[in-house]
């Protein structure tokens, strides 16, 4: 049926164009940031660039406030991710394995923080922290981030549990493995890639979070907040661009790998069906 074929080709041309258009729209601004990390002119975005310089990378390296913010952000992201991995996996296991009263409600409440606007989560946490008179610290930020990081891990691990044959666990026990061995040799290998993907996503989410952080950080400055505050200092613009570029790389890589991992394991599982 030749007419069908040509119709299909036309449609895919249109789609290709639309896809490229969308991609350009999303990514040109990012490329502009990359470009202006190299400008010698500190305050204005002139095009073409008046010249090319790498001095802003050096300037950025010298800024102690920037380093402090970066360290804080990395620490918070790391701890929030670990908390999310442990709590998210336990919650997913509980919801998957057992039938308890209110299971659906628990599942819904767990996922809620990611659907809720950050500003609501932020205010809620701020009020709680305030009324309990807990001093703002690194831990208050971690708790704030954990609310949505747990969801990411929970969702990933639960989806994997649901795809896993339940009888595998029974088979393992039947063959003489105790609970610990069953977890180590059967459950963990089944959910490992889900944990890795969930963990990387959680890390990336935490690393560039602004809204919830502003409510839970007190006087502390995480990297995204540092960048935000730079907006009022036009003379630092190229430094900010350099930092923005690094933030993007740090968050992009985990997300990229997380996607690769889940795509791969979906392939192999599909093959076994």
């Amino acid at each position: 049926m030749p007419s069908n074929v040509s119709y299909g080709q036309k449609a895919s041309w249109g789609l290709t164009l639309a896809a490229w258009g969308g991609l350009l729209f999303l990514h040109v601004p990012i490329l502009i940031i990359f470009l202006y990390t190299l400008t010698p002119d500190e305050t204005t975005y002139t095009f073409p660039l008046p010249g090319i310089t790498f001095k802003w990378f050096g300037v950025a390296l010298q800024r102690a406030d920037l380093w402090r913010a970066l360290t804080l952000s990395l620490q918070v992201a790391a701890v929030a991710t670990i908390v999310a991995l442990v709590l998210g996996t336990l919650a997913a296991a509980a919801v998957y394995r057992s039938q308890f009263f209110g299971r659906e409600a628990v599942s819904f409440l767990l996922v809620l923080p990611i659907a809720l606007p950050g500003i609501v989560t932020g205010i809620a946490l701020r009020t709680t922290i305030g009324s309990l008179e807990i001093p703002f610290s690194y831990w208050t930020i971690v708790v704030g981030h954990a609310t949505f990081c747990v969801v990411v891990v929970y969702n990933n691990v639960l989806a994997r549990f649901r795809r896993m044959q339940g009888s595998q666990i029974e088979a393992s026990m039947d063959l003489g493995a105790n609970s610990f061995q069953t977890f180590r040799y059967v459950i963990f290998p089944n959910i490992a890639t889900a944990l890795l993907a969930g963990g990387m996503l959680a890390f990336a989410l935490s690393f560039d979070e602004v809204i919830v952080t502003t409510f839970t950080a007190g006087q502390q400055t995480t990297l995204p907040i540092w960048i935000f505050s730079q907006l009022t200092r036009p003379r630092d613009r190229p430094v900010t661009n350099v930092v923005a570029m690094f933030v993007m790389l740090i968050t992009f890589l985990p997300i990229f790998f997380a996607q690769k991992i889940t795509a791969q394991s979906a392939d192999t599982e599909g093959g076994s069906k």
Binding site: Q165, S167, Q168, S172, M173, D174, L175, G176, N190, S272
Partner: protein, 346 residues
């Protein structure tokens, strides 16, 4: 050896409730050492529940289960000398075939050289030599089935449980695996407990069969006993096909109202004026329906006094054209008196 004289499995008044559902009720059962024993029954009759209680995935609500004399009712699965072949095989997808089979040895801490040796023996037994490095996803359904069997047998369990292991296979492969399973059981000499809802499969493979209905064991016996002497109307109907006759119609044929069953293949069909011997019963009727099934033909005969009987005849000389001509003809059915079975309630 006491284990030779003890029954492999003994159920003592075992019941299992799931909330209000009575899955198994007051089951008493003895499975002998080295037997190929089938649990046969329709869907939802409690076969899987019994098997899972033997394996340790469920604990009885009341009663006791003994494994070679030892009360195992409350032992966890990993402390029982019993292994299971799951209906969906439950192979570990992230492990090679060899690692799957070696799993039971690995978790017990058997050293690697010994594991490799025994895995090779098992692969040999299930005719999969050379497949150790494949992943389960690279095997056919029948091959996965064999891996599951090898994995369950490597620990030399006292009893092997199989829950409809052939259910997912097509007919040809199924028949081939039936023969093979039986051969493997003979070789390893382990007691096999086999769950199926396919009566033909149970009849061809088993040394003895327990027939389940609605959570109760209604009859235990050899295939011949169960087929020839069904204890209840349910067994008569479920194992093979049977004609059940009672009330007025029974009285007209045998002179008594007692309900009886008669197998379709025991009934002979002749012209309406056939002479009846003294050792036979007879009934007259008209052929209402004819189903030609290649090897044999199934006739539905409406009796002149009401009710109907199914008759099966082999197509030894007849063709499909011949048998179809019978439709609508008056016939006389007759069968030897010894072939009826008087049966109780359901």
């Amino acid at each position: 050896m006491t284990s030779q004289t003890q029954p492999a499995i003994r159920f003592e008044n075992v019941s299992k409730y799931f909330g209000n559902v009575r899955a198994v009720e007051q089951a008493n059962l003895e499975i002998r050492d080295g037997e190929f024993f089938s649990l046969l029954g329709p869907s939802g009759s409690g076969k899987t529940t019994c098997l899972r209680m033997i394996a340790g995935f469920e604990t009885p609500s009341s009663g006791h289960i003994y494994l070679y004399g030892q009360d195992v009712s409350n032992l966890p699965p990993y402390e029982r000398d019993v292994n299971t072949v799951f209906q969906d095989y439950a192979l570990f997808p992230h492990m090679s075939v060899g690692d799957n089979i070696a799993y039971g040895l690995m978790v017990k801490g058997v050293p690697k050289p010994e594991r490799i040796k025994r895995v090779d023996e098992m692969l040999e037994l299930v005719q999969l030599a050379g497949y150790a490095d494949r992943k389960p996803s690279q095997l056919s359904g029948g091959q996965r089935q064999r891996v599951a069997l090898a994995r369950a047998l490597i620990n030399h369990p006292k009893v092997l449980l199989l829950d409809e292991p052939l259910g997912a296979l097509d007919l040809k492969l199924r028949q081939q695996m039936q023969v093979e399973l039986k051969a493997i059981q003979k070789r390893v000499g382990i007691t096999f407990i086999f769950v199926t809802h396919d009566q033909e499969e149970a009849l061809t493979m088993s040394d003895r069969i327990a027939v389940f209905n609605e959570g109760k064991i209604v009859q235990v016996g050899t295939p011949a006993e169960i087929y020839e002497h069904p204890a209840t109307a349910f067994v008569a109907g479920f194992v093979g096909t049977s004609n059940l006759v009672d009330g007025e119609i029974a009285k007209r044929i045998t002179g008594r109202e007692t309900r009886f069953s008669i197998r379709p293949e025991k009934i002979h069909m002749g012209p309406a004026d056939t002479k009846i011997e003294a050792d036979s019963y007879s009934a007259d009727g008209v052929v209402r329906d004819v189903v030609y099934l290649g090897l044999y033909t199934r006739y539905l005969v409406e009796l002149s006094g009401g009710g109907d009987l199914v008759v099966v005849e082999q197509n030894l000389k007849t063709t499909s054209m011949d048998v179809l001509k019978v439709k609508g003809q008056p016939v006389r059915l007759h069968w030897k008196k010894e072939h009826i079975r008087e049966v109780g309630g359901s």
